[in-house]
């Protein structure tokens, strides 16, 4: 009973309570957001590169961009599905949609986005590897539709924005967690997509033109800088809401979340920013920065997702 004497006389203590439900949305949802950032980020950054540079400067971009997006989106959908306690009922989102829910809107948008990315992926893949299954009727049919790629690309880019950002609205609709402010989260989601979108191309674009690599370094540097500034603002200057302050106390007071958060900031933001601004002509260092961006973003997302869930609600 010693510790009771350390409680201030005016402070009330809950003496009987139910178990706290703990982390409801955990690592699977972190992975979901992380993979979605890659899936949409490569499309957004890819579109920027295609607008600014000639195709010849980035020879593999046309088929690698939808391929990476396709893989990442499937990882995202996989973790979305297995996080459901009744995964087979996922179909209810399509048969009984409730349109006020950003989960519903997001699921529909992400599904349409995946269809468009799949069209781009299959047409560009079979066109690029023209000898692969040369006589197969399906492959031939897909190759003959190569023109679809350019037709669906603008819609895919357009859809990449809401698909990237809708999770911020889910977080906003999670009315119990005040840390997640829609304005900030919308921009954080977008910046996360640009971070890992550019990091993906830095990893695979070793032979691309120098001007393209400079652009990728610039996108990485700007996106990590802006995102870092937003995190710092929220971390140090959230004086306005008692609940947000109480949530951030879980990081401020040290412990595992403190370590996770600052690991994320160091790997995902500080290191990539320094490398992208000072050593962007060093291929090895840029690849290192890309890898730390992926790891750091996971830590940052995971901390930000979990800390509000530690707060007792009643």
């Amino acid at each position: 009973m010693d510790h009771v004497s350390t409680i201030e006389a005016t402070k009330a203590i809950v003496t009987m309570d139910v178990a706290h439900t703990g982390i409801i949305w955990g690592w699977m949802i972190t992975l979901n957001m992380w993979a979605k950032s890659i899936g949409t980020g490569v499309i957004l950054v890819g579109a920027f590169l295609l607008y600014r540079h000639k195709h010849e400067d980035m020879p593999s971009l046309r088929w690698l961009m939808p391929l990476i997006s396709f893989i990442a989106l499937n990882v995202f959908l996989f973790f979305t599905l297995i996080d459901l306690h009744q995964p087979f009922r996922m179909i209810h989102i399509f048969t009984h949609p409730h349109w006020t829910s950003s989960i519903t809107v997001g699921a529909w948008l992400a599904s349409i986005f995946l269809v468009l990315v799949s069209i781009m992926m299959f047409t560009s893949f079979f066109t690029h590897f023209s000898e692969f299954r040369k006589n197969c009727a399906v492959a031939k049919a897909v190759r003959s539709k190569d023109g679809l790629y350019e037709k669906v690309f603008p819609f895919t880019v357009f859809l990449a924005f809401p698909v990237t950002m809708y999770t911020a609205i889910i977080m906003s609709q999670s009315a119990a967690r005040e840390l997640w402010v829609p304005g900030a989260e919308l921009i954080q989601m977008l910046l996360a997509a640009f971070m890992v979108g550019s990091a993906s191309f830095i990893l695979i674009g070793g032979k691309w033109a120098e001007a393209v690599k400079k652009d990728l370094a610039m996108i990485l540097a700007i996106s990590v800088l802006f995102s870092f500034i937003m995190y710092m603002g929220e971390y140090f200057f959230s004086y306005k809401a008692a609940e947000v302050e109480a949530t951030l106390a879980y990081i401020h007071s040290g412990g595992p979340y403190f370590l996770d958060f600052w690991t994320g900031m160091l790997l995902g933001y500080i290191i990539p920013f320094i490398i992208a601004t000072t050593m962007n002509d060093n291929r090895t260092m840029m690849k290192f920065a890309a890898v730390t961006t992926f790891i750091g973003l996971y830590f940052a997302k995971s901390t930000w997702l979990e800390i509000p869930q530690l707060l007792p609600l009643s």
Binding site: I13, G22, I24, Q86, S101, L311, S314
Partner: protein, 246 residues
Amino acid sequence: MKLGFLVDLNLCMGCKGCEIACKVENEVPLSSWRLRVKYIDIGSFPDTSRSFTPLRCNHCENAPCERICPVSALHYLDNGIVNIDSERCIGCAGCMMACPYGAIYMDPESNTADKCTYCAHRIEGGLMPSCVVACPTEANIFGDVEDETSQISRYIMEHQGNVQVRKPEKHTNPLHYYVGGGNNTLNPLAHERIEGYGLFNNITTLDHPGNPNRSILDRFLEPIFGHPNDNLDNKSLLDMNSKGDK
């Protein structure tokens, strides 16, 4: 018609009769609660007091849980009750993230979200919610808040100035009121919870909502092949526990 609840905290003596009545009526599984009575110690010896606060779903008029539910498993009834259809629920836990009052749990038997429904099934049959019937001090008052002559409406009017709701700043418009509540009883941030210490029980953190013995693979296999724990209910769990004690 808008059905609402009012708890007069001056009358509540913390007997937990309502909590037990709710568990029995709705067969709420072990380690889950639809209604619970929070105990709070205030002050330091010898100047101490203990207060009790029954907490349940507030059946908000502007319910964040209903808004976020992707499949309308959570829905409003005409009488204002926020009801849940567990056959429709996909178990996304969005509602658990949205409810500012922590009123929703993932049922470890059905693996779907569940919560207080103001005993909608009893009301349909003309009965009062079971917690109301069980309360020995009549601290729980239930009725139509739109009917000026109902007991709850009169109680609210008689106690003007001393009627509170939880977290009014969330704009959820709860249809659940308290008389005699204060910061300590209604604000979860006003007091400390000491991990691992409690008067009657340990305060613990559940590993994950839902059934902790059900793996991710079970989520896919169970609807097809069933689960070895399919027949587990409160009674068999109790039997298992008591066997383990021997």
